[in-house]
Amino acid sequence: MIWWQFLLLFFAGLGVLMVIGLPVAIAFLLVNLAGVFYLWGGVSGFNQLILSIDSSISTFVLVPVPMFILMGSIMFHSGIAQRMIEVLDQWLGFVAGRLSVLAIAARALLGTLTGMAMGSVAMLGSTLTPEMERRGYAKSMSIGPILASGGLAILIPPSTLAIILASLGGFSVAKILIGIIVPGILLAVLCIGYIVIRATLQPEVAPSYQVTRVPITQRLNDAALYLVPPICIVFMIIGLIFFGTATPTEAAAIGTFLTFVLAMIYRKLNWQVLVKGVSSAMQLSVMILIILTGSAAFSQLLSFSGATSAITNLAGDMPVHPLLLLIMMQLIVMFLGMFIEQTSIVLVTIPIFLPIVHQMGWDPIWFGIIMMVNLEMATITPPFGLSLFVMKGIAPRNTTMGDIYRAAIPFIIINMILMGLMIAMPDLVLWLPNQMK
């Protein structure tokens, strides 16, 4: 078989299996079974598939995912999250769509912790979505911002993906880490701007609710009691990583542990909260990890079939206008991003793209950062963006996959606008890294 036949079969197979209601993880596994049979030498390849299931999740690098989920779950079930939101309301009652804004801001902050989108989508989604639902937010306003926020993890340093990209492309790691800051902040600002404008023009999507006037002393008191401690935990995690006391995995575990301690101090950590908090965190973690057992091998099989590099090679085969070529290359990344995991995309595309970048005389840092925004978007592009599945797993009962796809679209467009801006104004990206020696 040639590569596009594999691609078609993989894509169609996965699509059909998912559409008939098979859990996403099982759909991946079944397609993998077929792929392994053809690509990895028949039955003996199945042994390798089992090994790949183990390797895809048996790594401490992924431990922050269940840790952040547990942290969020305990915050929610012990009522810490709800109290935080109440106190924030006292202060920010005038901002339209403030819970959605909060989601973006919280995520930008959490983005400094890790480069993993799924863990934070799960954490924020499980704490904020029920509250938004309760206050009558439309699905587009409750789900969209949390999805959009997930990708910020990759754009706000530290970002493992940025480091992989830079070392593969042979350009400065430090420059790319600095270079993603402005697009990261810009993305957050664009998202917040969109939310505030939409909530102002269409108040029904994010109903303003009466915030009772609270005297300033009471407000300060509440903030000190219920807002400062949880925020301190987050800053402490950042500090532990920043000052090198702990690795990201260790810092995530410490932050989660401190959340338990905080709940205990508030006298909210009874047996019931513990059971509900831990078991729902387990449920979410299992749901995410089991998808990873299938999606990792899926990406590898596509690479092994030659499809991934064949698609990427399309860019080099077309003599077109430089701007069109750039757009073509980004479209290829976007297309791959719909169904392949990000690290694999970087590993396959960069070696093929880089000669083109050099030949065109483009700044590789500029190109790399645009690609980062693109990859960031890949976690929320339908149909197979992994963050979309995570959101489906935590969204309230009546939320359909269609709701989630629709909620993601405005934020995908925002990402595209950002990429357009970066292409049109290279200085936007390059100014900050060029300040370095």
Partner: protein
């Protein structure tokens, strides 16, 4: 007179690692020496299979030829990387030697055809220690937090330093922030590609292990080759081993220049501390290998590699 196609997978892609060039040199030599009768087809690297799963995939016949670090075999062939301790110019003395035949037998017991260990001249392309403080001998290592691959772990632990596990992509941040105060790396293998020279201070110029690239083949596939084709493959192995010496020397010089340019200092250990360093490096690994290798095999390895206790 048919053409044979062999699928090759590597632990690293050539764009990532200069060491990958060794695997690709081997591929080209096989294609060339066989006059096109054997075609080695490169399938990919970490994008097609996680590097640590690749050795078992070779045994399972997912592909036919593999290149990567010899110590990736640790979990499958106990002591499969014993030539890291070799002092000979060609680490395994090359096809036809007694040491080479010993390695072939050792791997053969586990469903693998050992092809070769391609390394630089002793001291070139080896594992080195990179540290944030000046190191004048083993004593200075006590209490340091060092990021290590499995290969150098026993040395680091014997020197009473703490060994920390991190994927290579985390080394930059860990060094920058002081999560670790050093790590070991075969510097010729693209040290500066990762930008590490901007976050590291000292290179301790005392080689520890040979490092280099292991080449292996699926045993059934090897047995299915005609004797003439097997001959061609072994010639390509010898050719690759010879070529690698020059390649690693070139890469090491190149990396050293970049490290210097990035502000790093090369430290030579005081003459009286060098031996203890090398001795501990060698002996800690020998001790570990004694625990995992069958006694008879271990004794033979000691003899063939001329261990000096």
């Amino acid at each position: 007179n048919e053409t044979v196609t062999l699928k090759m997978v590597g632990a690293w892609a050539p764009e990532v690692s200069p060491y990958a060039a060794v695997g690709h040199k081997f591929k080209d030599l096989v294609n060339e020496l066989s006059g096109g009768k054997i075609v080695v087809q490169y399938m990919g690297a970490e994008d097609v299979l996680p590097p640590f799963d690749q050795p078992e995939a070779l045994v399972n016949g997912v592909f036919d030829i593999w290149y990567g670090a010899p110590n990736y075999w640790a979990g499958i062939v106990p002591g499969g990387y014993v030539t890291e301790l070799s002092k000979f110019q060609v680490a395994d003395k090359g096809p036809g030697s007694d040491l080479y035949d010993f390695m072939v037998k050792m791997y053969g017991n586990h469903g693998v055809r050992y092809l070769g260990h391609a390394a630089g001249d002793p001291g070139v392309g080896s594992h080195f220690l990179i540290a944030q403080k000046e190191i004048a001998g083993l004593d200075d290592l006590a209490g340091m937090k060092l990021r290590v691959p499995p290969l150098t772990r026993y040395f680091v632990q014997s020197a009473k330093a703490e060994s920390i596990t991190l994927p290579p992509s985390e080394i930059f941040l860990a060094m920058d922030r002081g999560t670790v105060n050093g790590f070991t790396w075969p510097i010729a293998d693209g040290f500066a590609n990762y930008g590490w020279q901007s976050v590291s201070k000292y290179l301790i110029e005392q080689p520890m292990y040979r490092s280099g690239v292991g080449l292996d083949m699926n045993l059934d596939k090897w047995n299915s080759l005609s004797p003439e084709n097997q001959e061609v493959v072994l010639k390509a192995v010898a050719g690759t081993q010879e070529w690698t010496r020059g390649w690693f020397a070139e890469k090491q010089t190149e990396q050293l220049a970049k490290m210097k340019e990035g502000g790093m200092t090369q430290l030579e250990l005081p003459a009286d501390k060098k031996e203890a360093w090398t001795h501990l490096a060698q002996e800690s690994l020998w001790t570990y290998l004694q625990g995992v290798m069958p006694a008879e095999e271990f004794a033979e390895a000691e003899k063939l590699l001329e261990r000096q206790k």
